[in-house]
Amino acid sequence: MQSQVPFPNFMQMRQWLPLWVWHGIRIASVGVALALCITLIVLPDWGLYLFWRVLIPLVPLLFFVAPGLWRNICPMAALNQTPRLFEMTKGLVLPQWLKEYGYLIGISLFLALVSSRKVLFNYNGPALAILILLLLGTAFVMGSLFKGKSGWCSSICPLLPVQRIYGQTPFVTVPNSHCQPCVGCTKNCYDFNPPVAYLADMYDDDRHFAAYRKLFVGLFPGFILAFYTLPNPPAIPILAMYGYFVLYSLVSVGLFFLAESTVKVTANKLTVLFGAVALNLYYWFNAPVLANLLPTAIPTTSFVWPFRLLILGLTLFWIYRTWQKETKFVEQTVIPLTAHVGAQDSLVSHQASMVGNPEVLIAPEGKRIVATKGVTLLDLIEQNGLPIEAGCRMGVCGADPVCIVDGMGNLSKISSDERTTLERLGLAPNTRMACVARVRGHCKVSLTPEKPDLFSTSFIQGAKFDKSVEKVVIIGNGIAGVTAADHVRRRHPHCEIHLIGRERHHLYNRMAITRLIYGRSAMQGLYLLPEKWYDDYNITCWLNTQATGVDVDGQTVTLGTGETLPYDRLILTTGSSAYVPALEGADLTGVFVLRTAEDAMSIRDFVQERVCRQAVVAGGGLLGLEAAYGLHKLGLEVAVLERSGSLLRRQLDDRSGQILRNYLEGMGIQIVTEAESASLQDRRTTRHDDSRLGGGRIQQVTLTDGRTLPCDLFLICAGIRSNLTLAQSMGLTVKRGVVVDEQMRTNRPEIFAAGDVAEYKGQVLGLWPIAVGQAEVAAAGAVAPAGQADKTYSEIVPVTMLKVVGVDLTSIGVIGADGPTQSEIVLEEQEEHRYRKLVLDGNKVIGAILLGYPTEAAGVAEAVRQGLDVSKEIDAFKRGDWRWFVSLME
């Protein structure tokens, strides 16, 4: 304990000796004092020699080195505490005047008695004996009357001022053994806390505390000098002697206050200096006296100077220690209330549990984060408030590349999805996607990925391309379009590639657009590729450009700008738009959809401009919930309307949907299930700004069951619809999307489609990884010689994640058993708010719901993708041991 407390008090120090030993020593001490008095009366010369030539020269050194020892064995203190020991004290509180002036009385007694040595006590043994007996008697009487040590030791004892100065930074701290227990009798008690008592006096709010101490220490050197340099009466008249004492003391104290006024150090530092001067003066004159105690064989001179130097050295060290201590003391007093953990033991045991965990060093910030094994770098970085973007959290969007400076081998292995993303980004080989790189050991990570020199090596080795394909046009610059362009270039180094995008932005992280609602950095950080990427890959990018028509026979694309682009191959990646159901009032101001970055930024603008307070989000799917979270983070009251009975009905079963609902409601987001919007009503306002925009501003939504919810903003998240206008105008086969085969080829052999616009086997899934997979196949087919395409599309198991802080939710493939061969393993930890379900078909995992199990998610997804046989693991899975999935990714 002592090591943790900067200034331990006597209760926090280890006692040197048992109490009974101290009592014995004190009895002996009183006995010695009484014996000395008898000696002074019976054999005055012996007594005077013993007292003035042996004891008194040593006492200041004892105060200086081990003041606590003196405080414990002082005969006056022993007698003062005797009544208390025998429970005979009245224990009175010291009168206020004595509290205030006790120290001054002690100073006065000291000065009067010491100066009177020259006229009386140095020569008169009986007088000295009487004085000692008087002091002992007074100490005893004051102890009988007053509480603790307040009547003598800590107030009017004439030795106290000297002890306070010399003993403020003990070389040896001997804890108080008198006060059992402490009765709190004295302010800034020396016995209670020796190292800070003097400092506490000096810094006390009552300025007199410091003033008395400054007065004494200021005059002390002059007083000592006077004592040892003035002749003794009768060589000097007695009055003159006292006058000189006063004069010397005044000059000394004058110097002190002059120094205090002019030298820019704290008053306490000056008291230390003056105390040091006083001690050195004292031993300058007493060194020869002490030398006389040595055996006569030792010459006096061989002791005096070394002893003086020893005292000087000790005081210099003492000055240094005391000044240092003052700094620490001030530090401890400036902040009066530092909060401390209420359960230190819990903190210690937690800390012990983290020993041995891997450490991730983030450069250049230099943050050293202790990781839980299996945590992703992204989670670790985000949880520590470091700047990083995030998107899919599955390694496919490319939002969070990081550079692994050291320890690549201590991360989980790279999955096929991540590898595809890394190839698209084309960064240095030491890059990992933070969202899927799981920590297994120590590593060093930089948040800035290193630039590549990879263009020449990013071609797909062995890929054959049709040299007659000279121009490839890709309509749509979302992830499908950019992936298609990337893979066309990797397979065909020479063809012209045109990438046409309606939006104003280069490829950005569409999965993170809800961050535009609540985040501060707008589009910054949302872009997934550097602008230079297009030049590096020799791709002509047309931003903010619409393809208005395609002449499929002439093989040209007409742009809205009037330009025409001929093509040999055309890839349609026109994506999808937000679906807006027929809804009365959907044209009101304040009604939004969320599909593009512009949509998200418009919502943020609107919330700020119109000071919105309440929002309703129609749709409890992934986008709806993420948008609701974004609006909640922006400070709005948010309600989510869900037509079915539970959230994320495509991704979750009832129980996991309920857990998620509880969490979101706990966060403050209102969830209204079985709620369908019937109409939106406006504010019917006449405000100028509303009329300027035309139409009224939304005020509330009315549900089909008649309920109403007030709102300033209504966001429709009702799903997507493929952008088919262009494809329809081209005469392509279109159902829900543009119908494609396994090579992503439309009914026109030179036209391909991929992503949200493509319909494969009757499905338009609208997921990022699927768009990537389809675009790769489309690119391969587009540039391959006829009949030699090396890639075909096979259905990808859909994996979805909800990107809301605190929700580690992954839904993979099939979410519920259906049919006699299928079964489920369902486990829930209610206390931890965690839930997991594995759906099996025979011995194969075909789907899962993982809520609160981020470490296992990637492995489960991999097992589902590969259709692995898990028959040997099923019992372990039922017991809750899913480490096998984790091991798949290591």
């Binding site: 402490c182 209420g342 800390q351 050293r368 949880q383």
Partner: protein, 156 residues
């Protein structure tokens, strides 16, 4: 200047003082364990910054091991003045956590040290999962800040 704490008697006055400044003293070990689950552990070498002056990172820290020095606000060109040293168990940064205003001073490690970080996001998650714990925490942080305000007012 308040020097009274140096003279607190361990068995009488000090428990009251400890109780007054103890953060979430009423929490059981299991609640603390749950709370630590929301914290991040950070390690520091001598001189590493725990809280930078002006930082608006909404998080507070529990010192788990070692010491951290608190420095007064300073001009970047000048040597900062050390105000105090915080030891294991101390809570630091709670003001910025509560008000999201820039940190006034700076906190740096003295030697090897370790601290647990509890962010505002972590609080949002805790509040969503366990409102009682979040309620306890918020009130206790408010109480500590209030006590500090009282102490400052008393000094004036």
């Amino acid at each position: 200047m308040n020097t009274a704490t140096f003279f607190d008697y361990p068995t009488l006055a000090q428990p009251a003082a400890i109780e007054a400044t103890a953060f979430l003293a009423s929490w059981s070990h299991s609640k603390w364990t749950k709370f630590f689950h929301y914290c991040q552990t950070l390690r520091f070498s001598d001189g590493d910054v725990l809280i930078a002056q002006g930082s608006t990172d909404r998080a507070f820290y529990l010192i788990a091991q070692g010491q951290f020095a608190v420095f007064a606000p300073h001009n970047p060109e000048r040597q900062p003045r050390r105000l105090t040293v915080m030891e294991a168990g101390a809570v630091v940064g709670e003001q910025t956590f509560l008000d999201s205003q820039p940190a006034i001073g700076e906190v740096r490690a003295i030697g090897e040290a370790e601290a647990l970080r509890f962010s505002h996001d972590a609080f949002a998650i805790l509040a969503a999962r366990d409102q009682e714990m979040a309620h306890d925490m918020l009130f206790d942080l408010g109480r500590l800040v209030s006590l500090r305000l009282r102490a400052l007012m008393a000094e004036r």
